[in-house]
């Protein structure tokens, strides 16, 4: 049935309008769902930060509102009585030394595994990547005994060494795949100029690897910063405890002062959050490296 031209036009535009409206409704709905997701994801942290400024009475009476009187006191209590300063210092010493050593040893090994061909190269690479499958907890008891025999229990070194060992696999995995992508003639011209193998590593390969190094450094740092099981088993001495270990301890002691407890936890995650916000791309890349190719 033929319709007059003007009528057809309005039909089309009405239909378009409906489609547009449907699209808008759909979009709003999607945003609504995403907002709920974002809220669920952040609320525990927000709740912690808000309540870190409350005293016990307010905390139990008005758990969802902002504090009436901001109790900065809580932070002082957490910092002083909970030895957070000691824990923080230990965490920095252990994490930073482990990161430097892991990345240096890992980069050196990756250089030879990625840029040289020799009989055992492939096997050594597989041997390293196998480490990503080792369940850390299966090594706790024997590692404790090993450290006991070596006299390294309750030392920073005793913690740094396993941190290096268990972060080498992912470090080497990321660095090798990156270094393999460089063209071959890079070293060849350097060799013509009479450069030694290690000078090529230091002056040519390492600077070229900078983006991957950044990823690996941040990944290692966060892993070590958050590590708990090894610290729990290998360190007993109060003055050597790292932040996660100290916090677990501190929560047990201060079960009655919720505000101070939350303040301590807030202080502990500030470095992590700062690193995450500033260097998100690198961190995400590192933590998903095993699963995402390319």
């Amino acid at each position: 049935m033929a319709q007059p031209a003007y009528q057809r036009n309005t039909n089309v535009s009405v239909q378009e309008g409906i489609e547009k409206k449907q699209k808008n409704v759909k979009k709003t709905f999607i945003y609504f769902i995403l907002m709920i997701y974002a809220l669920v994801n952040t609320y525990p942290i927000i709740w912690m930060v808000i309540n870190s400024f409350k005293n016990n009475i307010e905390f139990s009476k008005k758990p969802f509102s902002l504090p009436e009187v901001w109790q900065f006191e809580n932070y002082k209590t957490a910092w002083k009585t909970a030895h957070l300063d000691t824990y923080l210092l230990n965490s920095i010493i252990v994490s930073v030394s482990a990161v430097i050593l892991t990345v240096f040893l890992g980069a050196l090994a990756s250089y030879f595994l990625a840029r040289f061909s020799f009989k055992w190269g492939k096997y050594i690479y597989t041997f390293f990547t196998f480490g990503m499958l080792i369940p850390v907890h299966a090594t706790l008891v024997p590692l404790f005994l090993l450290m006991k025999n070596l006299g390294l229990l309750n030392t920073h070194v005793g913690l740094i060494l396993p941190y290096i060992a268990f972060n080498l696999p992912i470090t080497i995995f990321i660095l090798v795949s990156f270094m393999k992508s460089f063209p071959l003639d890079i070293e060849e011209s350097a060799i013509m100029d009479g450069c030694g193998v290690f000078r090529i590593f230091w002056h040519i390969i390492l600077p070229m690897t900078r983006p991957a190094l950044a990823t690996v450094v941040i990944l290692n740092f966060i892993n070590n910063w958050n590590e708990f099981s090894f610290a729990l088993v290998l360190v007993n001495d109060e003055s050597l405890k790292t932040l996660p270990l100290g916090l677990a301890n501190f929560a047990g002691q201060f079960t009655t002062n919720y505000g101070a407890q939350m303040a301590g936890l807030t202080l502990a995650i500030i470095p992590t959050i700062i690193i995450y916000v500033l260097l998100e791309e690198h961190l995400v890349k590192g933590m998903t490296a095993g699963a995402v190719k390319g």
Binding site: I30, L34, A38, N41, T42, P44, I45, F64, L105, L108, A109, F112, R115, F116, F118, F128, G131, L133, I134, P135, H137, A138, T139, L140, V141, P142, L143, L145, L146, P162, I164, A165, F166, L168, P169, L184, E188, V197, F198, I222, W225, N226, L232, V233, P244, L247, A248, M262, L265, I269, T272, I273, Y276, L283, V284, M287, T288, G290, A291, V292
Partner: protein
């Protein structure tokens, strides 16, 4: 590869430090646990050889089986909780949305926060008296639904699993998003011309294309859930009773609270082989489906 491979000694010098540290502190512990697992030793008196008695005891201890069951519970919660939720939000975020990056950032955040902090905060949220959940139920007038979330054996595993799901959804979200963004635009266009859009397109075109990534995610879930320890240790220490006992927790208790190093080593080995076997099996099952 080229000119550099003429001399062997620099290769040796370059690889040796990494190999030594890795071998000594990651591989050797597994190897020596074979030795210790055959011994009875409290760390002070003389070690005595007991053969396979430790393993026999492990397999005859109902608490070990309870802990294994709980590991599998966490595993199921991770695979059937984290993966679908992550996939759902990855598909939502895969369209061109304003503010997509914000949701990605927020989504991944729990993954970078220390498990100890997460456990303590969630522990307080679950607190029966002053916790967030019960307070919330009180405000909306559903006080009768309030529970002792971590103290009641009926609810403890559920509560712990919810926290675990919350903590790691972001990891899989990012992994799925990366895979989705690797699908070329032409494939979407072509399938739309063929009449597949919306849900149809997702099920028949998109999901098969990222199937490999889903497998990787499931395997990561499995190996991750077998590593559950920090969270349980801080939140419940395996209690109430042994309601939230997991294998690593059981091992820790038996070794360091009862100072039985031989027995602990035997449990360590069980965890090790169990993990490898499970990863291998899941790999086998899931890969077959794709062919």
């Amino acid at each position: 590869m080229h000119l550099l491979s003429q001399k062997k000694w620099p290769i040796l010098i370059g690889l040796a430090p990494a190999i030594i540290v890795y071998f000594l502190f990651a591989i050797i512990p597994i190897v020596i646990s074979f030795y210790y697992s055959l011994m009875d030793w409290d760390g002070f008196t003389k070690m005595t050889f007991v053969g396979l008695a430790n393993f026999k005891e492990v397999f005859n201890d109902p608490i070990f089986w309870q802990s294994l069951k709980n590991n599998l519970y966490v595993l199921a919660a991770s695979v059937f909780g984290q993966v679908p939720i992550a996939l759902f939000f990855a598909l939502l975020l895969n369209r061109k949305l304003k503010g997509g990056k914000f949701f990605r950032t927020v989504g991944f955040m729990p993954v970078v926060i220390s498990t100890v902090v997460i456990s303590l905060v969630w522990g307080m949220m679950y607190n029966a008296r002053i916790g967030l959940f019960n307070q919330f139920l009180k405000i909306i007038g559903l006080e009768q639904w309030a529970q002792n979330w971590l103290g009641d054996p009926k609810w403890a595993m559920v509560s712990v699993s919810i926290t675990i799901i919350w903590q790691f959804v972001g990891l899989y979200l990012i992994i799925f998003l990366a895979a989705l963004q690797n699908i070329p635009q032409e494939i979407y266009d072509a399938s739309e011309i063929d009449g597949a859009s919306g849900l149809k397109q997702t099920i028949y075109i998109v999901l098969p294309m990222i199937w490999d990534t889903i497998i990787v995610a499931v395997i990561l879930c499995i190996s991750g859930s077998l590593r559950t320890f920090d969270l349980i240790y801080v939140m419940t220490s395996g209690g109430p009773g042994h309601a939230t006992e997991v294998m690593a927790m059981y091992m820790f208790d038996k070794t360091f609270s009862s100072t039985r190093y031989g027995y602990g080593s035997a449990i360590s080995l069980c965890i090790f082989f169990f993990s490898l076997a499970l990863i291998y099996i899941s790999n086998l099952i899931l890969r077959r489906k794709t062919v």
